[in-house]
Symmetry: C2
Subunit: 338 residues, 2 copies
């Protein structure tokens, strides 16, 4: 691999001049410029990015921390992020934490070791004070969470409202005994959703059923298991807030197997408007988040911080959610009667 030195020698010029040509800088005569370009061409020269990084103290690389990429919500998010980052000339490193605090810290180390210019966290597992300590190493942007005490940009939808709207919808469909499922119980998202859920119950004078409340509902299988557990309760459940289309799909799958009618016997509501929610029979009522817009916004905000070096402060970018009513909560007959 030829270096800038080889090009300079070959062209009979100095490294400086070659560097100027590489970086499109002024103060190079056209004649010499051509000369350098020809030399680069003929030698097949390409600037070495490690050297550039060292010299410029920039990596043009972002780290995106997420629980697991196979969750469609995150794969859609990171798809949008990668496209936007690529437009700005940035690379994206995938960092799957699998909800581990340790892994999360390991990946945040990328910031400290200067392997990335900035970090996007799509979930937060450590206490904020741990995350905070990495901020001196570079900008951090948080997506899909909202941590009150943190002074960084946040990109999210109002999870409390979203859960409230979803729960209200269940109640309007006549549900009286509603089960609440959440993913990671420690997460902020879960806390906000729970709060919205409770608010809707309270306003409707309905009881919260702690026995019918489950955490770690994250995928199809957990949906199936929880459905079976719900059936074992003495208390009959007629509505479920799942917080995930996959979980909802797993429950519906099991419901069909067990001869439980959805929504007649039990209404089930998902989250994220993944393609599965449209495809299931019955199709799944769900809450849509503008994933693509959110992903793009994260990258824009982060790169802006990187390139303008302004210290990140609290900044809330709240996106709108939308309830998509489908058949898992809605009997067409009801429409006719209403």
């Amino acid at each position: 691999m030829p270096t800038i030195k080889d090009v300079a020698k070959y062209a009979g010029l100095s490294r400086t001049t070659v560097s100027r040509v590489i970086n499109d800088q002024p103060y190079v005569s056209d004649e010499k410029r051509q000369c350098v370009l020809k030399a680069m061409e003929e030698l097949g020269y390409v600037p070495n990015s490690s050297a550039r990084r060292l010299r410029s103290q920039k990596t043009e690389t972002l780290a995106v921390l997420l629980p697991r990429i196979t969750n469609p919500f995150f794969s859609h998010l990171i798809e949008a992020m990668e496209i936007k980052a690529s437009q700005w000339g940035y690379q994206v490193i995938i960092c799957q934490t699998h909800e581990s605090e340790q892994k999360e810290q390991d990946y945040l180390e990328l910031l400290r070791t200067k392997q990335v210019d900035g970090v996007i966290m799509t979930a937060v597992h450590n206490d904020w004070e741990v995350i905070e300590s990495y901020r001196e190493c570079g900008p951090i942007v948080v997506c899909n969470e909202n941590i009150e005490e943190a002074q960084v940009p946040f990109i999210y939808v109002n999870q409390e409202e979203a859960a409230y709207d979803a729960t209200m919808h269940l109640i309007q469909q006549g549900c009286k005994n509603i089960s609440f499922l959440s993913g990671d119980d420690d997460s902020n998202v879960s806390a906000y959703r729970r709060s919205g859920f409770l608010k809707a119950l309270q306003e409707s004078s309905l009881p919260f059923l702690p026995n019918a409340s489950y955490a770690n509902a994250i995928d199809v299988n957990s949906g199936r298991e929880i459905f079976r557990e719900l059936r074992r309760l003495n208390h009959p459940i007629d509505g479920v807030f799942t917080g995930s289309d996959e979980v909802a799909a797993g429950m519906i799958y099991e419901a069909i197997k067990e001869g439980v009618r959805v929504p007649e016997d039990m209404s089930i509501i998902g989250f994220d408007n993944q393609s599965i929610s449209m495809l299931m029979s019955p199709s799944i009522t769900t809450v849509e988040q503008p994933v693509q817009d959110m992903g793009e916004k994260c990258v824009e905000v982060l790169i802006d911080q990187i390139e303008h070096k302004h210290r990140s402060v609290r900044e809330d970018h709240v996106f709108e959610h939308e309830l998509k009513v489908r058949n898992s909560t809605f009997q067409e007959i009801a429409l006719v009667n209403s």
Copy 2:
């Protein structure tokens, strides 16, 4: 950010000694070692990775090229890759090509500019001769394709056999007019699948129906559209080989809407055994590929090449596929009668 020099000064030792401690090298007295560790601790020193890269000429980073991460097949593949890479201390950069030859080349440039130590291609869009020219810059491993003239490691399942098995299954279920769908028409995978499909038809003395053959069937929406187009044909179709669970799901969705019974009127077979294939009603018969094993193997083979610097030669790692028979091709009544 403190550098090795600061640590050396603070500890009253030389940079060399500090470096030795950082890299766990011998020939440092315990006393000095403690001294250095203490200095590093107190200054909050972390080695700068850009400098290390430049010095060692290694990046400990891999690029994974894929069409789009939202396709579950690829998100599962890259999940396994990222986990394995992380175990070896390597980072993974996502490179979405969206089937663009240009993007593919842009990302291969990462190899030339030394931003990554190696590349995994999970699809190949350019002519091999283009790819070949990047091989002098670093190792390349190809996953999920099999290009005969290429002298690199290949990790794949035998797509021809897989398509043959799937088609034979349709034929055994009584299908006589079978439609063939494929993703990217130029791709090698499609060619092999087509070949297996044709072989099965031929052996069964069934005609190939070019009018009922479609390319660019890659997701739920294309499945829906193609279903509608199939219905417009004069020729009635009683079986479809889709090459993708998403496409199959889209077709089934549309079939239900149109009152076409699956599998009684039309059998539909998917590919990849994604969770959607189990969840649909009817559940989708599909071909499973051992995605996780394949992903891990790619990373192992690539890192082996990187670390042992042996020039890559032809190497075939063929994984077994498995037909998963479900309800989209199989009437339970047939089981009772047989």
